[in-house]
């Protein structure tokens, strides 16, 4: 049996230290060990974007990432968006525009778009489409999602990270 390894990182602003099997995948660490089930498992192959989290602010597919490899980084999941229980401007735009139907894809879209709007507070429709092209949605047909990101970008309130 392979020995456990120690892991230190911050998740949504909270420092964390634990011992994990070396083959622990980040997605499983979040969902199974930390009970942060907002991050979804869609394909487990890197093609749907449902498992997207931010690693030091960079959108990353947690299903393709070994937990041990992100030692020392700050992981932000959908649970870490907004402060004091308030939604971010982007999340409010998703609600107002009806950009969510079943909601399975929503956390992934929110994380990808959060990073996009942080780097480019005003973006064109084309830039939004490109940035979100790795996130699949089976329900909405994408139009409402793109509109929501556009609305949040025009609202000028760039989404806050912890």
């Amino acid at each position: 049996m392979t020995r456990s390894v120690s892991l230190r990182l911050r998740v949504n602003g909270v420092p964390l230290e634990r011992s994990i099997p070396p083959n622990r995948i980040l997605l499983d660490l979040l969902r199974e060990d930390l009970n942060l089930t907002g991050t979804k498992r869609g394909c487990d192959l890197g093609t749907c974007g449902c498992c997207t989290v931010l690693l030091d602010g960079v959108p990353t597919l947690s299903c393709l990432t070994l937990a041990k490899l992100v030692e020392g980084t700050e992981v932000t999941t959908v649970e870490g968006l907004g402060e004091h229980g308030e939604l971010t401007a982007l999340q409010r735009a998703f609600v107002e525009r009806g950009a969510t139907q079943c909601g399975f894809c929503t956390p992934g879209f929110l994380m990808t778009a959060t990073a996009l709007l942080r780097d480019h507070p005003t973006v064109s429709r084309k830039e939004i489409q490109e940035a979100l092209s790795g996130n699949l949605c089976r329900c909405t047909g994408y139009v409402k999602i793109i509109e929501a990101v556009e609305a949040a970008s025009r609202s000028g309130a760039s989404p806050s990270l912890p």
Binding site: R3, D44, G46, P59, L64, L66, G134
Partner: protein
């Protein structure tokens, strides 16, 4: 599915961990975008994964005649590297079509080349750009042209214990990559055609390679020979298309049938040639 995970900081340490006689079944781990799903799904059973993340393989260098890309540099970094954007436009066009942005933050050029997927969108431009590899092992570094490195689908001449130190690409190279697929993002091309212009030294300056052909992406020497100079006539382009289609065995699989691929090869070759010609004008002529 248990395996040990190592993070060597020096190449010597990495070679010791990857030694096939010492640690049976140890595999190098670069971006992991291909390897981890295979391990998780139980298709591969490594005894250990040796992460390359802390090794000095993430270098980027530009000399007068070459760009040298470290084996573990993520694709996302490459598509934003001004020298690559300016001097190797055909490579950037292909990189931007791989997976999605988050995937490209992890996937590496070295990993893509070593996996040698017959459906890789990066192999056609790398072949047309006459890339070569510096392969590093305990015994030193050997250089091999990409065309000699690829042996078949998923097959290369990489030896056990060898790592991709650098990918070398001559610059500048007016170049272009044209492709067709079912969905633009998160998909793989049915056919992809890359063209690049090199110095002619009496032969054709054209370097042309295609994916979607059997058994793996390869150069199309017949088409190259049909184009004798940088600005070919419509007749010469048609001759190149004819020879490309005649001289290639097209794939026939769930992504596309052979007949459709034959059609695509012609269409995409014309587009790629035309776009390379106009790039040669704006880039101020061919490369080295």
């Amino acid at each position: 599915m248990a395996y040990a995970l190592h993070f060597p900081r020096t190449l010597d340490e990495a070679f010791r961990l990857l030694d096939p006689e010492g640690t049976e079944g140890a595999l190098p781990l670069a971006g992991g975008t291909d390897l981890l799903p295979a391990v998780e799904a139980g298709r591969w059973h490594p005894s250990a994964l040796v992460s390359l993340s802390r090794l000095p393989l993430g270098t980027f260098e530009r000399t007068e005649h070459e760009i040298l890309i470290g084996g573990t540099l993520p694709l996302r970094r490459l598509e934003r590297e001004p020298d690559i954007v300016r001097l190797l436009p055909g490579l950037v066009e292909a990189i931007r079509e791989v997976g999605s942005v988050p995937l490209r933050h992890r996937a590496t050029l070295g990993g893509n080349v070593v996996r040698a997927s017959p459906a890789s969108d990066l192999l056609p431009p790398l072949l047309a750009l006459e890339a070569s590899l510096d392969l590093r092992s305990r015994d030193g570094t050997r250089r091999v042209a990409l065309g000699d490195f690829l042996r078949g689908s998923w097959e290369t001449t990489l030896r056990p214990g060898e790592l991709v130190e650098r990918i070398r690409i001559p610059v500048p190279r007016p170049s272009s990559y044209r492709w067709q697929r079912v969905r633009p993002a998160n998909d793989i091309s049915q056919v992809g055609v890359a063209c690049a212009l090199a110095s002619s030294d009496g032969r054709s300056p054209w370097r042309i390679a295609a994916g979607g052909v059997e058994p793996h992406p390869q150069r199309l020497p017949g088409a190259e020979a049909a184009l004798s100079h940088e600005d070919p006539t419509p007749g010469e382009i048609e001759e190149a298309v004819h020879r490309a289609v005649e001289g290639s065995r097209l794939k026939d699989d769930r992504r596309a049938g052979e007949e459709y691929r034959r059609h695509l090869l012609g269409v995409l070759l014309r587009r790629s040639i035309t776009s390379t010609v106009s790039r040669a004008r704006t880039m101020g002529g061919r490369g080295t």
